[in-house]
């Protein structure tokens, strides 16, 4: 079942760091849920929710505020979120894709544009990325999109989020 659910998949080797995804997300959702970052080497990369098969964020949330909706998107139910101080979900995310904000429960995460999905539209960032770097595909098909370049670029970004060397200790 979960292989059919659609997720976002960003090819970091195609990304030029133009921030269109973040801007459009901000326009569509007020608080952006995808965030452009710059690694120490100056590689630009948007951090985004992978809507994991086994989402750590949902596991660690004591309130059960993070759930899968009927399309398989991992969503934060702000109604149930307490905005707790520990922010376990934020810490638990392997992709650094839950963001602290200054509004409401002080957290923002991608819900694959839930409000747009109701209208039969897809995620706004996918529509507007000039490079075509963001795909909205079934989880089972995401792997087929990978290339050597995309895997290498992904590894560079992960090394920045979670350094393996002495810097990470």
């Amino acid at each position: 079942m979960s292989g059919e659910h659609k997720i976002l998949s960003i090819d970091y080797s195609k990304c030029i760091g133009c921030e269109t995804c973040e801007s459009v997300c901000k326009f569509a959702n007020d608080t952006p849920r995808i965030h452009m970052t710059r690694t120490r080497d100056g590689v630009m990369a948007p951090l985004y929710c992978h809507h994991c098969e086994k989402p750590n964020c949902a596991l660690v949330c004591k309130r059960g505020a993070i759930r899968r909706d009927r399309d398989g998107a991992v969503i934060l139910q702000t109604m149930h979120c307490r905005g707790c101080q520990t922010k376990s979900c934020l810490v638990a995310c392997p992709f650094a894709a839950i963001f602290e904000t200054d509004k409401g429960v002080m957290l923002a995460k991608c819900d694959l544009c839930a409000n747009r999905r109701q209208l039969g539209l897809g995620p706004a960032c996918v529509d507007m990325c000039p490079c075509g770097a963001i795909a909205y595909v079934a989880r089972a098909e995401a792997e087929a999109l990978e290339t050597d370049a995309s895997r290498a670029a992904f590894a560079r970004v992960m090394e920045h989020i979670k350094p393996s060397g002495p810097a990470g200790k």
Partner: protein, 374 residues
């Protein structure tokens, strides 16, 4: 290749609304604004000096980074499904002398700004930043000296067959690139692909501070480009054409215990690099028409009563034309916000209530909270 969907704000066109909107410039902010307003049902007409919509996404950034087809398909959808009319090779005249900016020679038609204001209910200026910044050193006018855009633009534009567009001839030549932004990197890649004998990037600070980042510099190095840090260009050498560039070269100190390094004081030496082509990729300047008359400085500061509205009440401004050179994403956001503001204003105008909100607080305050400042 999927289309870019400039009409992302809606699933299908809304019923037509009375009134038309003109948009000057078909770059990221203009196209985003056109997409948004055509979703609402306005008749949108877009004017651009170039033969194809896309602006610097198409003519400034190399095709291996942004696929031209993806923009073209998005534009086609806007034309066919949303009835947007594109007037290409049309320049809205004119505060700067013609042929002052890259791409001016493509214009086949001139339209007066006054005509446009009368023709449309409202217009948005999204004319971007097309004038290259100069180094301001002697010898800069010698043949063989290019700005980043002068170098990159013809590579993309030559396929549109304007006789006055010529790809820079760098085959077998020594190329020196001044600057270390993304355009500078694109120039390096372009020069190598066009068969330059050597390519040297010169940057005033070090790779660690370079806007393009260490990774891109290393990658350029793998392709065969040299990188020199702590360089100040002094003058371009040569008689009749470029023969070299005189620079002041600093020396980097050893990293201290805390890792930071700086230039060795007094280490600067004057040197001459042989060069047949010098490209100064040091940024662009916005050249919106009638900046003064439209009070763009006030719009920039947010000292206006309507978001993105200029001193002329049915003229709005967005993107790089307003903020100066930025990023595609910033331009898109600015275009979308201006479009929304324009639509709100037109709605009130239809009710004859546009004065009802005009004396609210200046929007600058609001704007700061939104974090939308450049």
């Amino acid at each position: 290749m999927d289309a870019m969907n400039f009409n992302f704000a809606c699933a299908e066109p809304a019923p037509p609304k009375p009134g038309s909107v003109g948009i000057i410039g078909a770059g990221p902010s203009g196209l985003a604004a056109a997409g948004y307003l055509s979703c609402l049902g306005y008749q949108v007409e877009v004017y651009d000096k170039l033969p194809k919509p896309g602006g610097l996404m198409l003519f400034g950034i190399p095709g291996h980074r942004i696929p031209a087809e993806r923009i073209a398909l998005g534009v086609r959808d806007m034309e066919r499904k949303y009835g947007v009319i594109f007037h290409t090779q049309t320049k809205i005249c004119c505060s700067a002398p013609l042929h002052d900016e890259e791409g001016d020679h493509f214009c086949k038609e001139m339209l007066g700004f006054g005509e446009l204001i009368k023709k449309h209910e409202a217009i948005i200026i999204c004319s971007g930043s097309w004038k290259s910044r100069k180094m301001g050193i002697p010898g800069e006018d010698l043949p063989g000296v290019y700005s980043g855009l002068e170098f990159l633009f013809p590579i993309r534009a030559a396929r549109y067959q304007s006789p006055s567009v010529k790809i820079p001839d760098v085959a077998g030549k020594n190329v020196v690139v001044v600057g270390a932004g993304h355009s500078a990197v694109d120039v390096v890649h372009g020069a190598i692909r066009l068969g330059a004998a050597s390519v040297t990037m010169c940057y005033r600070r070090t790779a660690r501070e370079a806007p393009c980042g260490v990774f891109e510099i290393e990658r350029a190095g793998e392709l065969g480009a040299a990188f020199r840090h702590l360089v100040t260009p002094l003058r371009i050498l040569g008689a009749g054409k470029v023969e070299g560039i005189e620079i002041r070269q600093g020396e980097l100190a050893e990293a201290g215990e805390r890792g930071a390094c700086a230039m060795v004081p007094g280490s600067e030496k004057v040197a001459a690099l042989p060069a047949d082509v010098v490209v100064a990729a040091i940024g662009e300047i916005a050249t919106p028409p009638f900046a003064k008359e439209l009070g763009l400085e006030d719009v920039r500061k947010g000292e206006v009563h309507w978001l993105h509205m200029t001193a002329i009440e049915n003229v709005f401004v967005a993107g790089d034309a307003l903020t100066g050179p930025s990023k595609i994403g910033k331009a898109v956001y600015s275009g979308l916000r201006a479009a929304r503001s324009l639509a709100n204003w037109l709605d009130l105008k239809a009710l004859n209530r546009q004065d009802a909100y005009a004396y609210d607080d200046l929007i600058a305050i609001d704007d700061h909270k939104g974090g939308a400042r450049p």
